[in-house]
Symmetry: C2
Subunit: 334 residues, 2 copies
Amino acid sequence: MAGPSPIPFFETVSAYQKTEAIRAALALDVFSAIAEHQGVLAKIAARCEASERGIRMLCDFLVINGLLAKTDGRYALVPETAPFLVKSSPAYLGDSLEFLLSPELVEGFRDLAGCVRKGGTTVSARGTMETQHPVWVKFARVMGPVIGRSAPFIAELVDTKADRPLEVLDIDSGHGLFGIAFAQRNPRTRVTAQDWAPVVEVAGEHARQAGVLDRYRVLPGDAFEVDLGSGYDVVLVTNFLHHFDVPTCERLLGRVARSLKPGGTAVTLEFVPNEDRVTPPAAATFALTMLATTAAGDAYTFHEYQSMFRNAGFSRNTLHSIPESPQSAIVSVL
Amino acid sequence: MAGPSPIPFFETVSAYQKTEAIRAALALDVFSAIAEHQGVLAKIAARCEASERGIRMLCDFLVINGLLAKTDGRYALVPETAPFLVKSSPAYLGDSLEFLLSPELVEGFRDLAGCVRKGGTTVSARGTMETQHPVWVKFARVMGPVIGRSAPFIAELVDTKADRPLEVLDIDSGHGLFGIAFAQRNPRTRVTAQDWAPVVEVAGEHARQAGVLDRYRVLPGDAFEVDLGSGYDVVLVTNFLHHFDVPTCERLLGRVARSLKPGGTAVTLEFVPNEDRVTPPAAATFALTMLATTAAGDAYTFHEYQSMFRNAGFSRNTLHSIPESPQSAIVSVL
């Protein structure tokens, strides 16, 4: 057991500086400059059109926080994070800050004590769940590279053999990459993507870019109100349920159940902490974002999801962890 | 070597949430409530006049980040940080947020990319070093419990035997606790505390509370301009030099040298990273704050301080790490 130390207190209080450091480094494209110039300070500064002093102080801070290495005064990328930080990399995540640090999300944390008192967001009655909230267009535009990484894994998990025609409904499609992955995996799959009109437009654009638009239909509207249709083999519910309280989730899952064929499958992508609600860290921390930005959302446990799916008429649920992701997939059969 | 994972990226981007979580927890006095109510959620919520849901989500987040523990649904303080978080504790640090998260400091980070480009703060020409900047009154009022913890250690380090009269000059006294510790240790010590008038007024108040006002003189003015006097045995330069560039530090140290008796001692309290500038973390991260909030300040290495003191006429410097503190003391003899 370590003795008392104020250092963890200072680290936590000053944590906002880490957010600002990675925001600045991405804005200046420091990581690409390091990759191109073998980590030589003067060259990085010239490439970033910045002072050597400022680059040195920023890069040292990133070294301390594990996003860079430093040897004999030279900076280097770290293999664990390099693919996500260098702009030319296909896995580059820098654009996701437009959503992750959007004023619409960050403002939820501005009066976190107020949220704790109230038990939900203080920004507005429904927070980011207000109808047509503009942050979801940002989400659709920039979060594909972050969350879409899981899409091929999920398509393979559910449509393992890809040997029969599938009708897929993608509820709250956002960027649409989950439905699109099903269409790409199986040429006989047809996808219906539902989301608010300006969001599902982005999904349609992504379907066109992926070359599956001929098997892709957009269904603009609210997931709780629009006619979802019926007879689907698979319904995808990705990053949606965490925004709502349990009765609202069960209402949505009832609609999902009625839109499926008998024996059909619902696939849920979520942050699913263990029953202790504090592990694994990357899933469990998500609950605070729901407190700050929604009226009643949560990071539900698998036990809670099992209960919701059972109440909506599903018979079996299995939990699948997703490689290199803080999220899990729940596969539920009617 | 770990394989690629986006999780460190997400953690860094979302780090601001840790700042908001500890700010909210201190505002609601959650840590005291946990101590008083054996970590029972319903009682903590009642004591904090907050929702159970909000308290659960906040406390889970603090567990994930190491500031609380959780066993069988009950929360508990962690021995390493408990003394700093419970309001009734003599070591309580919660008030320090008034300085550490003051708008005057945080605004420096709002355009960190701009600071990196320029090589210094973008808030104003001299940032927090503008004459009579109001943040230093906050510093003097609330940072005593944070930094003053080192004061008895430093007084003992320099005035080991406390067996002879000492004249001590406390430059940039702030809260004044360093000079006061010398006066408390040795009843024949007299202290002169210099700082801007509204700041040194706080130091005088602290000297009165400590019962040493009869041996305490305040000297209002700018450290670079006011007549500091001469014939001191010890001059304290605590948390001051990091705000300036090297020539300015040497100018100040020249004034310090001229105010000392022959063979006198200067004591510097500072964040002193190793020569690699990235270890130890708690000292090395401080450089970024200087980039964001001053024109030319830095977390200087011991090698750099040795050179500054030599150029100002000092002959010997020794570096002393301070228990339970991210800072070090440098003892320099004329």
